[in-house]
Structure formats: structure tokens, C-alpha cells
Symmetry: C2
Subunit: 202 residues, 2 copies
């Protein structure tokens, strides 16, 4: 039986990797069960032995994407001088670079909506919250007077703002910041915002 279980786990991981590749290449809407089955060499219906449904599969891929994003942010955090302000700038730039390098996978994180009645599982929620620790630490150093709740809100605001610049910038549509200028604009905005917040603190 263990041979069978092993095989099953192998197939399951193949499935998730194939889904990841497919989203990366063709976007979330390009993910099709029949193509997945062909890709991992099994029948249509076998997919449903490996995974509850397509929503679960998408969340599994999302989990992997968040993990890689986490690593990218950790790397950015570690490099260079320890000034908390510049750490935040580096994190923001790293977020931008990650999104650009993993465009479709990163978009899938935000495009995917569960049906109204289904609930996002705990393991997926935990993945998301993890990421805020990158922002929280330097922000706490910069704004020591603020309560944890206030800091949490400021962290979310800052993240949302940077996320917006990245999202519209990478769309390459009319309202977007032109791509070459994007990283510089993000750095400027983060620095300006932080300086403004600190000045306001006093």
C-alpha cells in the first residue's frame, strides 16, 4: 500500500506543479482540468482523487507563491544597511520585482475569488498573515510611540499603497506609471510617506 501512497503523493505534487506552470504561462483563466490531466498523464476524473476541486488547487499554488514571496522579502530585508526606513524601501522594491517576475502567479493571488458559501481554509489564511511581519518590524522601529493596533493599520496602508502602484504599473495601461520609472517612484513614495509619518509623530 505504501508504494501506492507514494505514487499518489507524487502525482499530487505533479498536479500542483503543473497547475503552477499553467497559471504562470496562461494566467488563472488558462487553467483547465483536461489540460492538467494530460500534463500529468492521467485521466480527467483522476484529478478529483488528488484534490477536492479546482479552488483547492488554486489555493495550493497560491500558497507556494506566497512562500516564494516571503523568501524574496526576507532576502531583501537582510541585504545592506540596517536603517529601518531603507529596509522598508528595499522590501517595497522587492515586492515590485517579485510581482514583475511572477506576473501571472502574483495576479492569481488577487484575482481568485471563492464562491460566496465556501470558506478560505486556515492554512491559506496563515500564509497571508505571515507576510506582514516583514513590514511590522521596521515600522515599529520607526514609529515607537504607536500601539500595535495602530502599527498594524499603518502597515496595511503602506502595503496597499505600494501594491496599488505595482498593480497599475504592471498593467501597462493608460493610468499606469511607466514601467522603467516604477521602482524609483515606489522608493520615492515609501520614503516620502515614512518621512511624513515621522514628522507627523512629533
Amino acid at each position: 500500500m505504501s508504494k501506492a501512497l507514494e505514487r499518489r503523493e507524487k502525482l499530487r505534487s505533479d498536479l500542483i506543479l503543473a497547475a503552477e506552470r499553467m497559471i504562470a504561462e496562461r494566467g488563472l483563466s488558462g487553467l483547465k482540468t483536461r489540460d492538467l490531466a494530460r500534463e500529468i498523464g492521467c485521466a480527467n476524473g483522476a484529478v478529483y482523487n488528488l484534490v477536492e476541486d479546482i479552488d483547492e488547487l488554486i489555493l495550493r499554488v497560491g500558497s507556494r507563491t506566497l512562500l516564494r514571496l516571503d523568501e524574496a522579502l526576507s532576502t531583501a530585508e537582510g541585504a545592506g544597511e540596517p536603517s529601518p526606513r531603507e529596509t522598508l524601501v528595499r522590501i517595497a522594491i522587492a515586492y515590485c520585482d517579485f510581482a514583475a517576475d511572477n506576473l501571472q502567479l502574483w495576479r492569481a493571488l488577487f484575482e481568485h475569488r471563492m464562491e460566496a458559501d465556501k470558506v478560505v481554509p486556515d492554512w491559506s489564511v496563515a500564509d497571508q498573515l505571515q507576510l506582514f511581519r516583514h513590514i511590522n518590524k521596521p515600522l515599529t522601529a520607526l514609529l515607537p510611540k504607536r500601539s500595535p493596533e495602530q502599527l498594524g493599520i499603518t502597515a496595511r496602508s503602506l502595503f496597499s499603497a505600494v501594491h496599488g502602484m505595482v498593480a497599475l504599473g504592471l498593467e501597462q495601461k493608460l493610468v499606469a506609471v511607466p514601467l522603467p520609472a516604477l521602482r524609483k517612484e515606489i522608493a520615492d513614495l515609501v520614503r516620502a510617506t515614512i518621512d511624513g509619518l515621522i514628522a507627523r509623530e512629533r
Copy 2:
């Protein structure tokens, strides 16, 4: 013949209004041709006498939304003291309020993607560019040393940042700024950013 033309125009405008109502109530994905036809009291196929296809219809609704947004921003601009910094804050808050009050229609502006081969028509492009004049005027007053190109990029950055806060805030998901705090957070971020940009200018 003019009686017929009149009737046709009436039906066409009914169609656009019905589409607007339908998107507002059920979101962009809730827009269905059969429901539209029933709503305006004609057959399925008649819709295609009034409009090229569904993409055009969505863009027409989008055009109306952008027009109302433009009015809302104009109103915000006019009210209160003339300090350019506070004008920008009021515009950002007005954008947030408009999005909250017109949630589905506002989302439709960003969700809608044309198929790769089709081109967004000129009248739709013009609608979008119009809006930036609201941001550009006060920004020019605040940052007089910058060239028009630089100002254009800064305007887009600022817009993207505020848009990101509104978009994630109104999603009400994990990463979002809590809704009651959103307006205050936006005002703070805009003030902090502007102060930071001006300080950097010197």
C-alpha cells in the same frame, strides 16, 4: 422614419441604463444578454441591433461611471479652502467615497479586459485621461520645479497608491485596512506623501 429612429435611440439608452443597473446589483459577471433583453422588453437578438457586442456595452457603462466620478471629484475640489495640499486630500477621499458608493460599477472599470485583438476605442480612452486634470492642477502648485512629465508620473503614482488603498480596503479581506479607518488612513498617507515630496524638493 424619424419615429423609428427615436424609438431605437430610446431602446438603446434603456439598454445602457439596464446594463448599468445590472452591473451595480450583481457585478460585471452578473451581466447577461438574456436578462438585458427581458429588462428592456425585446428579444435576445435585438440587443445586437443596438450595440456591437457586450464589450461595447460595458465600455458605455464605464463611460457613464467615469463621468459621474469626474463630477464627484469636481465637487470635492470646489469645496472648502484652496490649499492645494488639502485639495488633493479631499480628492482622494472623494475617490474613496465614490468607490464605496458605486462599488460594483467602480470595480467593473478595472475588472473588464478586452480580448487581446480588440482595441479600446478613442472615446473610452479620452474619458480616462480627463480625470487626471483633477490631480495635476494642485500637484503643479505644490511642486513648481518639476517638469510636466515628472508631474504626470507623480500624479499617476499618487493615484495608484490611493487606488490601491481603496481597492484592498473595500475588498474587506485579510490584508485590508479596516473600513472605518480607511478614509483617515488615506488622508494621512496623502498628507505624509506630499509633505515628504515637498521636503525632498528642497
